[in-house]
């Protein structure tokens, strides 16, 4: 077999793909969250500052989605084909959400008229919420599994996407992003807006903890097989435990005003959540509950060994480069938002 540091290439690429998706959830998560809470800010100047807080970086954050799409397409083309043709309608709605969000950020500042800005504020907020919810909905369905036929093609219907578990995951995702985004904005704002965001951050922490708890209890009661991995390997309980500690640490840091630590904690929460999902589904990329033999795994969905090797080289060369200039851009725009004539 083809191994690299003790793991085969398929596992490596699964890890790379997971890391990219986590990177996307962490980075775009805070700007999607900032967008989702946008209408809670009432004053035009507050909204303008909040938008400029993510202004120079949201586009770089969305790159992770593009890299993730490419990573799945290149490494696991069968899964790429099955997942996106299955989620045809929700994904199209997600994409339209992305379009509207991108242009609302760009268009809003271009005219001084109040109605114009208010209209784009609504578009921006609704699009951010739709994107977060549809991401969560698709994640929930992937975790549960989808009906697949012998050609590894989706054979279910559209309405089945809206099952209770997936809807709960969708709401939890929105809550998580809103909390993450509110904490990010507290780091970027001052004065009364800052105070307002501090309060909002606390509210979204409650929103997240409640929806997360309900989803967890529902899962344990009605979809117990999703806990199989952790039930059979008690040593891995450290992961959910760490995650609960990370969640608990968020309100604690917010209370004492250490927003950077709170942000790090919510970042760790997102990573650990996705690590748990990854461990639970591994080695499946898309599980077919009715016909397990039709499931898509990291082995039967994979590209050739040669392509895997090429991709790993690309990741090894590309990731440090992306890391360097992403850090440079974040460092350039660090600190509180300062508006100037080039701002949105």
């Amino acid at each position: 077999m083809h191994h690299f540091l003790g793991l085969d290439y398929n596992v490596w690429w699964f890890l790379v793909f997971g890391a990219v998706i986590s990177g996307y959830a962490i980075l775009d998560g805070f700007d999607l969250g900032a967008g989702s809470l946008h209408l809670f800010l009432k004053k035009e100047s507050s909204r303008r500052i909040a938008m400029n807080a993510i202004g120079p970086i949201w586009d770089g954050n969305e790159v992770w989605l593009v890299i993730g799409g490419g990573a799945l397409f290149a490494g696991f083309p069968v899964a790429y084909a099955a997942i996106f043709s299955a989620f045809y309608v929700p994904f199209m709605i997600f994409l339209v959400g992305l379009i509207f969000r991108a242009v609302s950020i760009e268009f809003r500042s271009k005219e001084p008229w109040l109605w114009w800005r208010k209209a784009w504020d609504i578009v921006y907020c609704v699009a951010s919420i739709v994107i977060s919810l549809s991401l969560g909905l698709m994640l929930g369905n992937v975790v549960e599994g989808l009906p697949l036929n012998g050609n590894k093609e989706f054979s279910g219907d559209l309405l089945s996407f809206f099952n209770p578990f997936a809807v709960m995951v969708a709401i939890t995702t929105l809550a998580l992003f809103m909390m993450h985004g509110a904490i990010f904005l507290t780091m970027k704002t001052e004065n009364r807006l800052f105070v307002k965001l501090h309060v909002l951050a606390n509210n979204f922490i409650v929103f997240f903890v409640v929806s997360f708890t309900i989803t967890t209890v529902y899962t344990l009661l009605y979809i117990p097989h999703l806990g199989d991995f952790f039930r059979s390997r008690p040593q891995y309980f450290a992961i959910p435990l760490l995650m609960i500690l990370a969640i608990a640490n968020i309100p604690r840091q917010v209370k004492v005003g250490k927003y950077r630590f709170a942000f790090i904690s919510s970042t760790i929460t997102i990573s650990l959540l996705l690590i748990m999902v990854a461990l639970e589904v591994f080695p499946y990329l898309l599980y077919s509950p009715q016909h397990p033999e039709n499931s898509i795994t990291i082995y039967n969905a994979a590209s050739s060994i040669r392509t895997m090797k090429i991709l790993l080289v690309m990741a090894l060369v590309g990731t440090p480069l992306v890391g360097i200039y992403t850090s440079f851009v974040f460092w350039t725009f660090k600190g509180k938002v300062k508006l100037d004539e080039m701002s949105y």
Partner: protein, 464 residues
């Protein structure tokens, strides 16, 4: 309606709309590098005003380009699932490379380009501008590599049979440098640079017509005139090379481009014409033997015609391929003519003397757009009925889990969204152009408070 037609219409519509923007970004990127370089070198205020004005236009164009581009990356999976499985090994690698090596570069530095003018030093800002430009050029490389592989596949072998058949890489660099990629990358780059440079040219022509910002418009017009002259002439040779590659590797496409049916006959080159597919005959104004000459360097050598291919292996819309190809060539010729005319008048010191000519330049922004769109329609419709030339038919490449209704739904959705977007884009572009470049004042002036009347701050309504 038929799923195949709907999926093709959807792809053509979404990619055609997307393709308005990235070429503009590439071309404007080059113009930004030139203008900012001139500013750094000369320190003249007019170049600063020009570059900061064009950065704002660039941001608008780039934003729509990104938003419509993300759709494309996922449309292969949603509408062309069988294709995705078949070519993922190869096509996916090129898309992944585009994401990590190109798109990340341009999006990363874009923040500094747009928002960093007062945050970083001039040299770092200039560096960021260059990085954004290079990122957009690299982006084009990987996308054109992926598409060229569909036209002239190389460096692969087929594994499996029937529904499980797929292409796997045997040689990565042979795949990247497949027979058509280098020529097509140059062709696309040049077309893109023309799109951006003609936009600058036309906006400045408009300013000159309305006697606005004349002190900026004159030098910027001349700079963009030089750029369009160099690149429209270059395109003549690069385009010819691209056609030679088509002649060699995709004879059916070449035959369709000139409506040539009979393999034993010398091939003509049409200036204007119409292909009668039923009668297998092309009528119009032609240069006898022109295509033979371009392909083989002799007016007497026969060229493979469409009858050499089975009907099911011929491009289905021969007349469309013919018309798009000729539209592209005509636009290219018009661009060369306008560039050379401008240079000659400049040399005679009469460049800005004719108002009607400035109007022609103001409208010339449409030429590269028409050429770019028509060129892609030629390339893609000429490749039919194949999605991967000679290997996979378009009709076999669809998503079988997706129904016609779903595609109709998303097609209607995208049509509405894109109409709204395009209207807003034109509206905002027009407003920005009407508003024009702004003198922000020097750093000292701003800091000492002499510039409290800063028109842009007021325009953007900064409040407490």
């Amino acid at each position: 309606m038929d799923v195949e037609i709907l999926a093709r219409v959807q792809f053509a519509f979404t990619i055609g709309f997307h393709y308005i923007y990235p070429p503009l970004s590439i071309g404007l990127g080059l113009m930004l590098v030139i203008l900012e370089g001139l500013y750094l070198r000369t320190g003249q205020r007019i170049y600063e005003m020009a570059v900061r004005f064009w950065i704002r236009i660039f941001a608008l164009i780039f934003g729509i380009g990104v938003a419509t581009g993300i759709i494309m990356e996922f449309e292969f999976g949603t509408n062309w699932a069988t294709y995705s499985k078949y070519v993922g090994d190869i096509f996916g690698s090129a898309l992944a490379a585009e994401g990590i090596f190109a798109f990340a570069l341009e999006s990363g530095f874009l923040g500094i380009l747009i928002f960093g003018w007062n945050r970083v030093g001039p040299r770092i800002h200039f560096f960021s501008t260059i990085m954004v430009f290079l990122g957009s050029m690299f982006s084009a490389v990987w996308i054109v590599v992926a598409n060229s592989w569909q036209q002239t596949p190389a460096g692969y072998h087929i594994v499996g049979e029937g529904l499980n058949a797929r292409a796997e890489i045997t040689d990565f660099w042979a795949m990247v440098f497949n027979p058509s990629s280098v020529d097509r990358i140059l062709h696309v780059w040049t077309g893109a640079i023309l799109a951006g440079a003609f936009l600058v040219l036309s906006v400045n022509a408009w300013y000159l017509l309305h006697r606005k910002h004349v002190e900026i418009a004159r030098p910027t017009f001349k700079i963009s005139l030089l750029v369009v002259t160099v690149f429209s002439l270059l395109q003549l040779f690069i385009g010819d090379r691209s056609a030679e590659v088509v002649a060699h590797y995709q004879p059916a496409k070449l035959a369709a481009m000139e409506g040539h049916f009979d393999s034993s006959a010398i091939a003509d080159m049409y200036i204007l014409g119409y292909v009668d597919k039923k009668a297998e005959k092309t009528n119009g104004l032609k240069i006898p033997g022109g295509l033979s000459f371009l392909t083989y360097g002799s007016f007497k050598t026969p060229v493979t015609g469409l009858r050499a291919f089975k009907p099911e292996d011929r491009p289905s819309q021969v007349n469309s391929v013919f018309q798009f190809y000729h539209l592209m060539v005509a636009s290219g010729v018009a661009m060369i003519f306008l560039s050379l005319l401008g240079c000659w008048l400049w040399w005679r010191k009469k460049l800005f003397n004719y108002r009607w000519l400035l109007w022609v330049y103001a409208l010339s922004v449409l030429l590269p757009q028409i050429a770019n769109q028509a060129g892609w329609f030629t390339a893609e419709m000429g490749r039919q009925p194949w999605v991967v030339y000679g290997m996979l038919r378009t009709s076999d490449a669809l998503s079988r889990a997706v129904t016609a209704n779903q595609i109709v739904f998303s097609l209607i959705l995208f049509t509405i969204v894109y109409i709204v977007l395009f209207t807003l884009f034109l509206f905002l572009l027009n407003r920005k152009i009407q508003h024009g470049p702004v003198d922000y004042g020097t750093k000292e002036e701003i800091e000492s408070g002499q510039r409290r009347d800063n028109p842009l701050l007021e325009h953007h309504g900064v409040q407490g």
